[in-house]
């Protein structure tokens, strides 16, 4: 699939936020909301790889992640953080992307284990994808093989700090640079790759479109897209 061109993200200053908040209390309110977001993180119950073995100890009586407001949740709809625990085989990566797109924003991805950074010890495996952040934006990496519960918790605390101070906004990149991520996904999964979630529509709906959201890869998606069925919620945004 190397024939699908790889593009790079052009780093630009983020588009200025529309100044809709003039109330001085709004800032306090935002702080409060961010604090609550940082203190209540629902993690998705999805053991994508072997690093998941250290999550039960981190959750249960000994390390007790609930102290920090972290709870496991079953479906992506309820979850805030996706822990990609270890190597991602290509088959799993598809599900991870599906799951990630189904999660409501703000959502955070933590790459646990070295395998998510650069393939880890499976660097020569034909079945595992190597660099997670090419496919979905990653907020925090916790390296190690495998990281101890303490490391997991410290990584989560780092994420909490990021959320509290408002730095944890990697999820916006997915909307803003969707073309880049989609391109990488297409290079790996083939040009017919398609998920049920309409990211472009979401980006449009929530006002997160940038000039890098759409591009040649989204065009390719549009070309090859099989309409889900006559129930067309997919998409008016593109024609507009």
């Amino acid at each position: 699939m190397k024939d699908i061109k790889k593009i790079e993200i052009i780093q630009r200053p983020p588009p200025p936020e529309p100044a809709r908040r003039t109330n001085p209390l709004a800032r306090v309110f935002d702080e409060l909301v961010r604090f609550c977001q940082s203190r209540s993180m629902f993690m998705l119950h999805y053991c994508t790889g072997c690093g998941a073995i250290e999550l039960p100890p981190a959750m249960t009586s000994r390390f007790d992640m609930e102290r920090l407001g972290i709870q496991p949740m079953v479906t992506p709809r309820q979850a805030d953080i996706l822990l990609v625990t270890g190597y991602v085989s290509v088959k799993t990566l598809k599900r991870i992307i599906l799951t990630y797109e189904q999660m409501p924003s703000p959502k955070y991805v933590i790459g646990i284990c070295s395998c998510t950074v650069n393939g880890g010890m499976y660097w020569q495996s034909y079945a595992t994808a190597k660099v997670l952040k090419d496919y979905i934006p990653v907020d925090v990496y916790i390296a190690g093989c495998m990281p101890r519960p303490e490391a997991v918790i410290s990584g989560l605390r780092a994420l909490m700090e990021d959320i509290r101070t408002g730095r944890g906004d990697a999820w916006k990149k997915y909307y803003q640079n969707y073309d880049f991520y989609l391109g990488n996904q297409q290079r790996l999964f083939g040009e017919k790759w398609q998920t049920p979630t309409d990211v472009i529509a979401e980006a449009h709906h929530y006002g997160m479109m940038t000039d890098q959201t759409l591009g040649e890869h989204t065009d390719l998606l549009e070309q090859n897209e099989v309409p889900l069925d006559a129930l067309r919620t997919r998409l008016k945004a593109r024609t507009e």
Partner: protein, 380 residues
């Protein structure tokens, strides 16, 4: 390479519906999937779907040095990694004709049993969680963590130890280690009545798990079931006893069985094995101080180690059942072929599919967890 079909096709007029268990589902152990077709809550068809954890271990091992693979093998089964290392080491030792010093053999047995205890604590905790009782899971995993502490002290790693190398073990026991281990065993034994009261004799649980996923002896033998799952049908078959490796021939232990063949029986077998493992560990603690000697035999430079040509089939009883390695060497620095026969490759695919058909939606997760299937063993 589209993952699934979105194409519009009219539905067949049918009263059945499909439900996907996994890979992202708490009713499935690890990253594994199970598609079922149901009517109401009755399972009509079941289809296992694996490969989410596929890393191509067997291919990877062909591309690495013999000694490098030691770091790779424990990752095949995460909750119970020690048998993987030991089994692989045994295969190389058989190929090279290495004689493992006795002390190393005892230490290996000690680790194997510790790993079994840890895996069983994990297993029934998980099973309890599928029936909605989370307390045993919290307790079990916290207690398992104490064993991981002992592993950490011994090997430096909590989960992946990379401790059993061909020819012996990597380092000797730390000072006072056996005493601390003994204390841990005392603690675990003192916890057993709690687990019994909370879980194993809990009438609601018993009612829930009885007659779920029942296998007969004949079925179990025919389907290639091994380990605790086989023993739950009343057959006292155990690789440790039938095909003794290391010093198991010299140890005294029972092979616990149950007659039921259902989820409850499988759990009770695991519970009894927990006690047996503690019993074995106590024997090790008694005997190990008397056995002096090296902890490994001399081996050639591991980075330039050409293992003699030949093949070896070694079997080990892991916490899930019969684990076997088939290793072929052509005399090179890397294995020519390594085949891992994980016990779960039977349990998680064919046995699970067959037990699930005709069972109820409520019980699918219970069947999966009571078989204690470990998906990475299947996917490799």
């Amino acid at each position: 390479m589209r993952p699934e079909n979105y194409q519009a096709v009219n539905h067949p007029p049918s009263n059945e519906y499909e439900l996907n268990f996994g890979p992202n589902h708490p009713g499935i152990e690890g990253n594994y999937a199970f598609k079922v077709k149901l009517n109401g809550d009755r399972v009509l068809e079941a289809r296992a779907d694996g490969g989410y954890l596929h890393r191509g271990f067997e291919k990877l091992m062909e591309g690495r040095l013999w000694i490098q693979n030691i770091a790779l093998v424990p990752r095949i089964c995460v909750p119970d990694p020690v048998p993987m290392e030991v089994c692989y080491a045994l295969a190389i030792e058989e190929l090279c004709g290495l004689e493992v010093p006795e002390r190393a053999q005892w230490i290996r047995v000690m680790q194997l049993e510790m790993s079994r205890v840890a895996a069983h604590l994990f297993a029934f905790g998980g099973h309890a969680a599928t029936t909605g009782m989370y307390t045993p899971m919290f307790w079990g995993i916290a207690d398992r963590d104490l064993i991981l502490d002992r592993f950490e002290e011994l090997t430096g790693g909590r989960v992946y130890h990379i401790y059993n190398i061909p020819g012996g073990v990597r380092r000797d026991l730390p000072e006072g280690y056996l005493g601390r281990l003994s204390g841990l065993l005392d603690y675990l034994e003192s916890r057993l009545p709690d687990y019994d009261n909370l879980f194993f004799t809990n009438q609601v649980f018993v009612r829930r798990a009885r007659d779920v996923g029942t296998m007969t002896q004949a079925q179990a033998l025919k389907w290639g079931v091994t380990g605790p799952n086989l023993r739950a049908t009343g057959l006292a078959l155990d690789v440790r006893r039938d095909d003794p490796y290391l010093v198991y021939g010299r140890l005294e232990f029972d092979v616990p069985t149950e007659a039921g063949g259902d989820a409850l029986a499988r759990n009770l077998v695991r519970r009894s094995e927990l006690q047996q493992s503690i019993h074995i560990l106590r024997q090790v603690i008694d005997r190990l101080p008397e056995i002096d000697g090296p902890i490994r035999c001399p081996i050639p430079n591991p980075l330039a180690w050409n293992v003699p040509a030949g093949e070896a089939y070694t079997r080990v009883e892991s916490s899930k059942g019969e684990l076997a390695y088939y290793v072929v060497s052509t005399g090179g620095g890397k294995p020519y072929r390594v085949h891992v026969r994980g016990p779960s490759s039977m349990h998680a695919v064919q046995v699970l599919e067959r037990l699930a058909v005709g069972s109820r939606l409520e019980d699918i997760a219970q069947i999966m967890f009571s078989l204690d299937a470990c998906p990475p063993e299947v996917d490799r």
